[in-house]
């Protein structure tokens, strides 16, 4: 047992298997903490964390904020819409101004891939990537793998199909890294226009038929169609209509009956009911969508706790 091998959580790519397992075993303890009558522990009471969200988010932001507060950290929030970013300030200037107010850790979501990596080279605080463009979303992948481990006992040897908009999804990329590091097999499935070229080079299977993917998988991770990334006026068409997408790639109970399978169903949210998944299945017994959300707080507490423990000794 020891410390994480990294000072920042920029992506799953930078973590090794021991790091992931340390985060999981720490999260086990925090899961117990958040189910206590008093859900707060004083571990991070001398730490200030800035949540910088340059892009919209509900779940991740809430989840991080709850995790921070349950560790007794001081929290400042920032969202790009109401800030000086719209007045033309650069990212480094914005963050350095915030750090000048003595902030120890930064949780950042940014529309540009690599923004947290760039930042980590220029500032001293610990950085946690809460999603950068279509690149990575490490805490989501960690909580997904943690939820699989909780539901099925282990991640190793499991077959996971990630279905939907792989092209625009940071969740997909982080999950591919994370699941593979833990020894799972990963398949991506979706319309050819939404599967990035050369994704096979990551060692994943590619399948264009949802039925075949369902026949193969133990776990089915549905992704949202990211309409907001298809051009401002939806000028770029990746598929003819949402209805057609639902017919070909929507997860419904009829489809599961046809292939005689009942995989564990996951979704990082937000769900578009009736598009990628039917309402009935989203609320079904095999769905662990809400467990994912619960585990999100525990995983984020574990990440914050482990990164913060390194802090003092660095200086």
């Amino acid at each position: 047992m020891g410390a994480l091998s990294t000072k920042h959580l920029l992506g799953i790519k930078q973590l090794n298997q021991a790091d992931i397992e340390l985060i999981f075993s720490t999260a086990d303890n925090f899961k117990e903490v958040i189910n206590r009558p008093i859900k707060k522990v004083p571990s991070l009471r001398d730490i200030t964390i800035a949540n910088l969200f340059f892009e919209n988010s509900t779940r991740t932001k809430l989840s991080f904020e709850l995790a921070e507060k349950r560790l007794s950290a001081d929290v400042v929030n920032f969202s790009a819409a109401a800030s000086s970013v719209s007045k033309g300030e650069t990212l480094i200037d914005t963050v350095n101004n915030i750090l000048a107010m003595k902030v120890d850790m930064v949780v950042m979501r940014h529309p540009n891939p690599g923004a947290p990596i760039f930042l980590s080279k220029h500032i001293k605080a610990n950085i946690i990537n809460a999603g950068d463009g279509a690149h990575e979303h490490p805490t989501q992948a960690l909580l997904d793998a943690y939820s699989i481990r909780e539901k099925l006992g282990d991640v190793k040897g499991k077959r996971v199909a990630i279905v939907g908009d792989i092209l625009h999804s940071r969740v997909a990329l982080s999950n591919i890294y994370c699941l593979q590091k833990l020894g799972a097999e990963v398949m991506v499935c979706g319309p050819p226009t939404l599967i990035p070229k050369h994704i096979q080079s990551l060692g994943v299977k590619v399948e264009f038929s949802l039925d075949k993917a369902l026949e193969w998988s133990d776990i089915c991770m549905m992704l949202r169609i990211q309409l907001e990334r298809q051009g401002s006026d939806r000028s770029v068409k990746y598929f003819p209509s949402l209805r057609e997408y639902h017919q070909l790639y929507g997860l419904t109970s009829e489809r599961l009956k046809k292939v005689k399978r009942s995989p564990v169903i996951m979704h990082p949210g937000p769900i578009n009911r009736g598009v990628e998944i039917s309402s009935e299945l989203a609320d079904s017994e095999n769905s662990i969508i809400l467990n994912q959300v619960e585990n999100g707080v525990a995983i984020r507490m574990a990440v914050l706790y482990l990164l913060a423990s390194e802090h003092e000794n660095e200086e």
Partner: protein, 182 residues
């Protein structure tokens, strides 16, 4: 130079635990209103033995035992080289309005007990809290904390370490005093 001194051997340890149990019974009768809480990681081995012994003496299976991890409440977080790795907390009962006996193997600076007191409050407001330790290292406290029940009192210096060893983890039941490298 690494020196070692035996403080309690297996028989003495068993006798000490038995004596502590009788002292507990004097104050808590049949334990209908009292619960035991062992402090993780090493206090739980003593706590389990005390629970077993009490159940035997009282002829019941009623003595409740929980284990409490104090990691997140410690005051040396971020002051150590490596992160503090937490253990499981397992308290399946309500401590609200109960008498609580906190159990740990060695009492030294008192800081662990301080964090234990804090950690315990997440489970309710006990009527009364007592402290039972196997070994009390006298005159070494950093905080005003004193035990109610003591197995053995030892005078030692900072360069020494007292270790309670248990069969299930160390292969032997005994308490030893070791010299540690500075």
């Amino acid at each position: 130079m690494k020196s070692k001194r035996l403080i309690l051997n297996q028989t003495q340890l068993a006798l000490t635990i038995k004596r502590l149990c009788f002292q507990l019974i004097e104050n808590h009768n049949d334990f209908s209103d009292t619960v035991l809480i062992g402090l993780q990681p090493r206090g739980i081995y003593l706590a389990k033995r005390i629970q077993k012994e009490l159940n035997q003496i009282l002829g019941s299976e009623k003595v409740l035992l929980g284990s409490l991890d104090t990691t997140f409440f410690r005051d040396d977080f971020r002051r150590r080289d490596s992160p503090l790795i937490p253990n499981k907390t397992r308290i399946d009962f309500i401590i609200e309005d109960k008498k609580v006996v906190l159990i740990d193997d060695v009492l030294y600076t008192g800081r662990t007990i301080r964090s234990g007191l804090d950690a315990m409050l997440a489970y309710g407001r006990p009527k009364l809290v007592e402290l039972l330790v196997l070994v009390d290292r006298r005159f070494s406290r950093h905080l005003p904390i004193e035990p109610n029940y003591v197995g053995e009192t030892v005078d030692s210096v900072d360069s020494e370490r007292i270790e309670a060893q248990w069969e299930e983890v160390d292969g032997k039941n005994q308490v030893i005093l070791k010299e540690i490298k500075q």
